[in-house]
Symmetry: C2
Subunit: 331 residues, 2 copies
């Protein structure tokens, strides 16, 4: 019998339907990344991107090429940094300027690097770069929200193969982010406890959906996973903002992120995926109800009319089974 | 400069970013449908589907094969018709049985038929079949919502090429459907007018985003289109339920649906698409605020991490431009 499961934070119901009995290798393999002759993110092509916003370079190395990580504006930005919002109406409609920031974090000078195979120190550097950019952009009070995300693989929406993540800063809090924060707030108002903290406590106790853990973080298959092998990484102690993470948090976060992506690569044969960092909207002042986390979604199934129309996902893999496969993968 | 536009019904903001200057033929062509040796929906294979729920057959033709349209249960149903909800908890989580109906409407006996090239009468028959199934299923008071949808083309999630649509009846009102109804209700509470009626009035007056129209229906590119060439078909007069459409409505609806899909086929070279019929939840008693409609979304861009994480879509085509291309296409 299929099950309906409710995400306790957003109240989104998900259909867990294992009728087709999908196992990890039943999902189609990802096509190999397209080989382009020219890559604008490779060393030597620094002048082919818009001017660099920041970079990590070895001590004293001032040359263009000696970088280990670079951040540049997106060449085709979805939002633009200049100007103001200029809200206007058109009859019953509302619009404003597409103000914001859209940046690319080039994670490595090596075109063929993959995050799961980088050293922990290099993954940590990527997390520091995310944090550096957030700390810089949050000074601009036109921005209400910053989303860090990574599209890996063409099926997951990556248009370039060179390892990179993206950042978008928006002048409004996006609807889904608002929903999540509001859902957590409703729980807090009722229970006076953080729902994420409660969830972590229950997951660590039952262990059914735990994929990996270390001193500071836990990775779980969420109870109401929308997608097969969806995985969330959460700090074990309450922290609303990603950018307030301390040094030891970053070390542990890099370790578990690399570990989880490595497990996915093993069990699902290097699937395309998206990950997103969910953090409290920048200008929120209440801190007790929200808990930052990373959501990782391998791109294994096509989302079609039903999901678009209803927000009601059909997941063919039981989250407990997904967790077991990933937990038992030995790296 | 990119624009942010707000959908007045759901309050969803969309980024209209035409930086990359996409024109219709810039989108990758749909791959040809996979040719399977065996099709369970073709005449002669009636015993390969679960038992028929209903069919349209020519007068007096009682043979299995003489059907023009057939409805069968989905062989791998996301939801199942037997049992009750049996809501239970698991610590902080909630679940219930995956109760519901999941049916397939086989639109034609001809494997290679496409909806845009069928006669208006045959498209009308498909709409009647949708209505017949809704009227039957709505007698079952375990169901709160019925969604009719079509995935056309592999990229849009269709796993079989034979022309078909699907129906899912659910024991709860899906979140996105609820949001839309609540958004329309909020407008009604403030204005004492239906927001869809107001939108139709404004669109017919400005004509900027009108794609097609006839006596009973209008097709528009919505102001805050999430996807390039997204198109909504709405009855011009207020009607909350699709299944309350009259004979002359069905005739006009079939005509405009065929017309719009034909225009898309011409401008976008037979793109994959999803369409969905949005109708008031079955058990609602207030009727003044909601207006049924069809949403058609060609599958031209990949939805990636940003959209999943934020519900904040990036559309590379100005809705006014999309409407102009489609409006000017001559069939």
């Amino acid at each position: 019998m299929p099950q309906l499961r409710k995400d306790p934070i957003t109240s989104r119901w998900v259909i867990i339907s294992t009728e087709r009995g999908k196992r990890p290798l039943d999902f189609p393999a990802a096509p190999p990344p397209p080989q382009l002759g020219f890559c604008p993110f490779c060393p030597g092509n620094e002048d082919k991107t818009p001017p660099e916003i920041m970079a990590y370079r070895k001590n004293g190395n001032l040359s263009d090429r000696g970088w280990s990580l670079r951040v540049v504006p997106n060449k085709f930005p979805a939002l633009q940094i200049e100007g103001d919002l200029d809200r206007t109406g058109e009859g019953i409609y509302d619009r404003m300027h597409g103000l914001g920031a859209h940046e690319v974090i080039i994670e490595s000078p090596n075109h063929n690097d993959v995050l799961s195979a980088m050293s922990e120190e290099r993954v940590e550097d990527i997390l520091w770069a995310y944090r550096d950019r957030i700390l810089d952009l949050k000074k601009d009070d036109r921005f209400q929200y910053i989303l860090i995300f990574k599209n890996y693989g063409e099926q997951a929406g990556a248009s370039l193969a060179h390892p990179h993540s993206q950042l978008i800063a928006t002048p409004i809090v996006p609807k889904r982010a608002r929903e999540e924060v509001d859902g957590a707030k409703a729980y807090f108002d009722y229970k006076e406890r953080c729902i994420f903290c409660d969830m972590i406590r229950q997951e660590l106790q039952s262990e059914l959906r735990v994929i990996a853990r270390n001193d500071e973080f836990v990775a779980i298959a969420p109870f109401a996973s929308r997608f097969p092998f969806e995985t969330w990484i959460l700090p074990k102690t309450h922290e609303p903002f990603f950018h307030d993470a301390q040094k030891h948090d970053m070390v542990s976060c890099a370790r578990i992120l690399k570990e989880v992506l490595g497990k996915m690569d093993q069990v699902l044969v290097s699937p395309p995926y998206n990950y997103l960092i969910h953090s409290l909207p920048l200008q929120e002042t209440e801190m007790d109800h929200y808990h930052w986390h990373i959501e990782i979604m391998p791109t294994l199934v096509k989302v079609a009319g039903f999901e678009w129309g209803t927000g009601f996902y059909i997941n063919p893999v039981l989250p407990e089974d997904a967790a077991k496969y990933l937990r038992e993968a030995r790296l």
